[in-house]
C-alpha cells in the first residue's frame, strides 16, 4: 500500500539528493521565509516543504500537473485533508509510546508481544482512515486522491480486519507453541519454525498429538531453574521468525503512515501558505508549465512572496511577456524593485515546478532542469581582485553543472571590477550561454554590457527597466525598456541627504 500523493508511481524521498546549489538558492531567494510560512513552527512541515520545493526541479510536466490537481482538491477540502494528516500523525505518535527498550529487543517473545500491541493500535488507525475514505471520497476529483481512497476501500475491507484481529489473538500463543526443527551442526536443533495447524483452532494441537503416534514427552523438574530458562530459550528460538515477520509488518505499516504523513505534509504546508496569502489579499493561480525545450515566460501580477509575507501586505505586482526570449536584462533605478522582481522570478519558477500555485494572477513558463543564482556577495569590498576572483570561481562551478535547459539569475554579477572589464566578462559569458540556449535573467548596472545587446539587436533579448517618475520617486513597477545610462544614484543620494526623503527611504529599504 502506497500513498503516492507526490508522484504517480513512486514514493517521495525525504533523503533524496537536493540540487548542489541549494544553499545559494535558499539564501538568494530567501526561501526560508516561504518554508516558515508553510511550516508555522512545525519542524517536520518545514523539512518536507524545503525538500519538496528544492527537489522540484527534477519533476516532469505530468508530475507537476498531478500535484496541482491534488492541491486543488486540498484547497476545496482543507479540513478533511488535515483530518487524514492527523490520523497519520496520531498513528506514528502512539507507536512511539509503546515501550521497546534494548533489553526487550533481545527476546523474540517481547518483540512478538510488543508487535501485537502496536498492531492493535494500527488496526484502529487504519479503520479511521477507512471511514474517512468511505464518507468523503466523493468530494475529491484528483487522480491522486481517487487512487488513494479506492485503494483504502479495497485493501482495508472488514473481512481483512477480521483476519488480522484473529491472527493477533492466536499469536498470543496461549495454547502452547508448536515448533518444527531439524538437526544442524553437532546435532543441535536448527531451522526452528513456528507452525500453525491446518485444523480448527479449538484444541488443534492436542488433536494432532493425539492421533499421530509416536509422541515422546519430556517434563521439566519443577525446581529445575536452568531447565526452565533453557525451555524458554527454545520457545524463543521457535518464535524468532514469526516475531521478526510481525515486527517487520509493524514497521511496514508504520512506514505507510509515515509516507502518508510526509506526502500530505507538503499539501498541508501549501494550505498554510494559502491561508496567509489570502489574508493579505494576494492572488494565487495555478501556473501553466510547458516543456523544458520550449522558451516561454509570461506573467501577470507577479509578486515576491517573501516580501509580501514579511511586510504582511499586498505589494506591487509586475507583468512581463517574454515568450521566446532567452535573455531578460533588467536595469534601472536603484531600489526600484529589480532585485525583488528577480527573486519573484526565481520563487515562482520553484513553486511551479514543485506543483504549487504561483504568486501571480497568471503565470506560464517552460520548466527548467536546473536553477542557478549568481548574486553579488557582500564580502570584503576593498579586495576587488579577490572578489572578482571569487565571483568567477562561483561562475565556473555553475558552468560545471549547467544543462542547456537551465535557468540562471544574475544579480549585479561581475561588477567587482571597473565597468569596462566587468562588461566584457559579462558579455563573453552571457553570449556563450545564450548560444547554448540557456535562459538568463540579468540585473545589472553595467550599461556597456546591457546596452551592447540593444546595439547588436539580439533577437531573443528582452529589456525591463525599473521605473522612475519625473520627480525621482519609484513605483517599484518594472516596464519594458532599454537600459539607460544612469541608474539614478543621484536620486538616492538626494533622498538620503534630503530631509523630505528620509521617510520614503526607510520604506524603500524594506523593499530592497
Amino acid at each position: 500500500m502506497k500513498a503516492f500523493l507526490m508522484f504517480r508511481d513512486h514514493d517521495f524521498d525525504l533523503k533524496g539528493k537536493l540540487p548542489s546549489n541549494e544553499q545559494a538558492l535558499t539564501q538568494d531567494l530567501e526561501l526560508n521565509t516561504v518554508f516558515n510560512s508553510m511550516a508555522l513552527g512545525d519542524e517536520f512541515l518545514f523539512e518536507v516543504a524545503r525538500r519538496a520545493v528544492l527537489s522540484g526541479l527534477e519533476n516532469d510536466l505530468s508530475t507537476i500537473l498531478y500535484r496541482q490537481d491534488i492541491l486543488r482538491d486540498c484547497l476545496k477540502n482543507p479540513s478533511i485533508v488535515r483530518d487524514i494528516y492527523n490520523v497519520a500523525v496520531e498513528a506514528i505518535g502512539s507507536e512511539k509510546k509503546v515501550y521497546f527498550g534494548y533489553y526487550f529487543s533481545k527476546y523474540p517473545s517481547s518483540i512478538l508481544s510488543r508487535s501485537i500491541e502496536v498492531l492493535q493500535i494500527f488496526v484502529v488507525m487504519l479503520k479511521k482512515l477507512k471511514n474517512i475514505a468511505d464518507r468523503h471520497a466523493g468530494k475529491f476529483e484528483s487522480e491522486g486522491f481517487t487512487t488513494l481512497f479506492t485503494m483504502l476501500k479495497k485493501e482495508l475491507s472488514n473481512e481483512y480486519f477480521a483476519i488480522v484481529e484473529n491472527h493477533l489473538r492466536e499469536l498470543k500463543l496461549r495454547d502452547g507453541v508448536l515448533i518444527s526443527a531439524e538437526l544442524g551442526e553437532g546435532n543441535k536443533g536448527t531451522n526452528y519454525i513456528l507452525r500453525k495447524s491446518q485444523e480448527e483452532r479449538q484444541s488443534w494441537i492436542e488433536r494432532i498429538f493425539a492421533k499421530k503416534p509416536p509422541v515422546y514427552t519430556f517434563k521439566l523438574h519443577p525446581r529445575d531453574e536452568n531447565g526452565a530458562r533453557a525451555l524458554s530459550e527454545l520457545r524463543d528460538r521457535g518464535i524468532n521468525l514469526v516475531a521478526n515477520a510481525l515486527a517487520q509488518s509493524t514497521d511496514h505499516i508504520l512506514s505507510f503512515f509515515s509516507m502518508l504523513r510526509m506526502e500530505l505534509a507538503f499539501y498541508v504546508g501549501c494550505l498554510n501558505l494559502h491561508v496567509q496569502l489570502t489574508e493579505i489579499g494576494e492572488p494565487v493561480s495555478f501556473p501553466v508549465p510547458v516543456a523544458n525545450r520550449e522558451r516561454k515566460h509570461s506573467l501577470e501580477g507577479l509578486y515576491d512572496v517573501c516580501l509580501a509575507l514579511t511586510m504582511k501586505q499586498k505589494i506591487v505586482g509586475n507583468d512581463m511577456n517574454a515568450d521566446s526570449n532567452n535573455l531578460v536584462i533588467i536595469t534601472g533605478a536603484n531600489q526600484g524593485g529589480k532585485s525583488t522582481f528577480l527573486r519573484g522570478i526565481g520563487l515562482s519558477q520553484l513553486m511551479m515546478q514543485c506543483g504549487m500555485f504561483a504568486p501571480a494572477e497568471s503565470f506560464s513558463s517552460n520548466i527548467c532542469d536546473c536553477l542557478f543564482t549568481h548574486y553579488k556577495r557582500e564580502e570584503d569590498v576593498t579586495m576587488k581582485s579577490g572578489k572578482l576572483d571569487e565571483e568567477l570561481s562561483r561562475m565556473s562551478d555553475i558552468v560545471d553543472k549547467i544543462t542547456p535547459n537551465s535557468m540562471i539569475l544574475f544579480n549585479e554579477s561581475f561588477a567587482a571590477t571597473n565597468e569596462r572589464e566587468g562588461s566584457e566578462i559579462a558579455r563573453q559569458i552571457v553570449s556563450a550561454l545564450l548560444e547554448k540556449r540557456l535562459k538568463l535573467f540579468f540585473v545589472t548596472h553595467l550599461y556597456e554590457f546591457a546596452h551592447g545587446f540593444v546595439d547588436k539587436k539580439t533577437e531573443n533579448a528582452f529589456f525591463l527597466r525599473a521605473e522612475r517618475q519625473a520627480d525621482g520617486g519609484r513605483t517599484f513597477k518594472l516596464v519594458e525598456g532599454e537600459p539607460l545610462q544612469t541608474s539614478y544614484g543621484e536620486d538616492l543620494y538626494n533622498m538620503i541627504f534630503d530631509d523630505k526623503g528620509t521617510e520614503a527611504c526607510s520604506q524603500r529599504n524594506n523593499v530592497e
Binding site: 500500500m1 514514493d11 529487543s105 518483540i111 483476519i163 488480522v164 491472527h167 499469536l171 502452547g176 507453541v177 508448536l178 518444527s180 526443527a181 531439524e182 538437526l183 544442524g184 551442526e185 553437532g186 546435532n187 543441535k188 519454525i193 507452525r195 500453525k196 495447524s197 491446518q198 494441537i205 494432532i208 498429538f209 499421530k212 503416534p213 509416536p214 509422541v215 515422546y216 514427552t217 519430556f218 517434563k219 521439566l220 519443577p222 536452568n226 531447565g227 526452565a228 533453557a230 525451555l231 530459550e233 527454545l234 520457545r235 524463543d236 521457535g238 521468525l241 514469526v242 516475531a243 521478526n244 515477520a245 515486527a247 517487520q248 509488518s249 514497521d251 511496514h252 505499516i253 512506514s255
Partner: protein, 510 residues
Amino acid sequence: MTFQSILFERTDDSIKKETLEAPVFFVDLNLDQIIDAITVGKQEYNLKPFFYTPLNAIDAIKYRHEIFRDLENKKLFEDIKSFSQKMRTMREHLAKGDKLYYKYQKERWFLETIEIYCDAVNRLFRDLSLADLKSRGFLAFREYLTDYANSERFTSLLAETKKLFDDLSSVKYCMLIKDASIKVRKYASEIDYSAIVEQTFEKFKQGGVKDYRVRFLGGPADMNHVEAAVLDLVAKLYPDTFLYLDNYFVKNSNYLDETIGVFDREIQFYVAYLEFVKTFERAGLKFCYPQISDKSKEVYDYEGFDLALACKLEKSSVVCNDFYLKGKERIFVVSGPNQGGKTTFARTFGQLHYLASIGCPVPGREAQLFLFDRLFTHFEKEEDIKNLRGKLQDDLVRIHSILDQATSDSIIVMNEIFTSTTIQDQIFLSKKLIEKIIGLDLLCVWVTFIDELASFTEQTVSMVSTVVPENPTLRTYKIVRRPADGLAYAIAIAEKYQLTYDDLKERIKS
C-alpha cells in the same frame, strides 16, 4: 618409487631424531629471528626441527628445490593451502568434539570431523591430478594419494559418512512446548506461521526494514540439558539412523591416514618459507635458487640482503649487496666505517649458505654457493669485555677450538675478533690467525678494523662499507669490493665541511 616424505627422497636422508635445539651459530647470524618469522602462526606444525637440520647432499637439496619450484605455481600453492586449512579445521573440530558430553552430540561432531577429512583428501586428490607436477616429491606423493583415495578403506569411509549425513539431514520433528513440558514427534507438514504473517501484511510492504531476528548466543558446541533431552527423544523417533551413528563412532576411531597426516605437516616447511619470501618479493626484493657445489669454492650472490634485518625494516629501505670469490680467493676481509653494514654483510654470507643448505631459495638475483660440512661463527659480545685478560683468552680458546674442528669444506664467519687488546696485539694475532685460515683453504668472512689484513695474500678480498660523499653521516650500507684505504670516509667528511684540497684552494684566497 614409493613415497616416503615430501622433505626427503630417501628414508636414510630423513631426520633420525628431530631436534628442538637450534645450531649454535643461529643467534650470531640472526637465523633465529628469521626462522621465528617464517614459522610464526604455524606453531602447531612444529616446523623448527626442519629448519634446524642442514642437508649434506646436493641431491637432497635439489629434491627440495624441485618442490619449491612446483609450488611457485599459484594454483597449486592455493590448493595446498586450502588442504592445510581443512586439515586444521578437522583437528580443531576433533578436539572440540572430544570435550563434549552428550552422546549424540559427540558422535555427530566426530562424523563432521571425518567429513572434513574426506573432503580435504578428495579435493587434494582432484587438485593434484589436474596439476602440472615436475618434482620427484610431488609426483610420488600424487601416486600415493591416488592409491589411497581409491582404496577400499577410504571409499567406504566416505560412503558411510555421506549416508549418515543424508539420514540425519532428513530428520525433521515437531515440538509442542507448553508450560513445563515438551512433546516431540515427527513433523507432519504443518504451515509456517511466519509465512502466513508475512502474507497477511504483504500489502503494507514498503521496502527494506530492520531485521528483528534475535541472534542467540552459543555455537553448535553449546547444548543444554533440555536440548539434549529433546535430542534423545528425536533419536527414539529415528532409531535406525542413530544406531548407525553409534556404530560408526566406534568403528572409525583411526580414520586418519598416517602418511597424509605427515604430508600435511611437512609441506608446511615449503608453504611457510614461500609465504615469507612473498612478503619481500612484493617489495621488489629478489630470491633465487642457488647453484650448489661441494667442490668449487667460487661463490657469488648478486643483490643479496640480510633477511633478518629486512624483516625489521621497511622493505623498501633494504640495501642489497653483491659479492663473488674467484680462483684462489677464499676470504672476505670487511672493513670501513662503523654502522656501515659490515656485520650485516657477514651475516648475509652466513645466512645465504645456511638457507641454501636446507634447500631453500635465497635472497639475491643469482647465486652460487658452497655446500659446507660445518659452519662456525665467532661474534663478540660487548657486555663480556669486563675482564680483559679473560676475554682475550676466551677468544683464543674458541678460535682454537673452531680451527681444530674446521675442515677445508667449512665456513667461518668472524666479527671483530681480538678487540679486547692493544692494536699491536690485534695485528699480530690476526696475522697469525689468517695464516692458519689460509692454510685450511676454507671460506671465511672476517669483519675487522685492521686494514693490513685486506691485502694480505691473493686468497683475501677486501670489502669496504661506504658512505654518501655529500653527507658522510648517511650510510649507504653498500659494501663494495675495493682496497681498504680508509680514505673514502675521511674525504666525505672533509667535503661536508668544505675542507678538501679543492675546497680549501677556493676558500683560502691570497
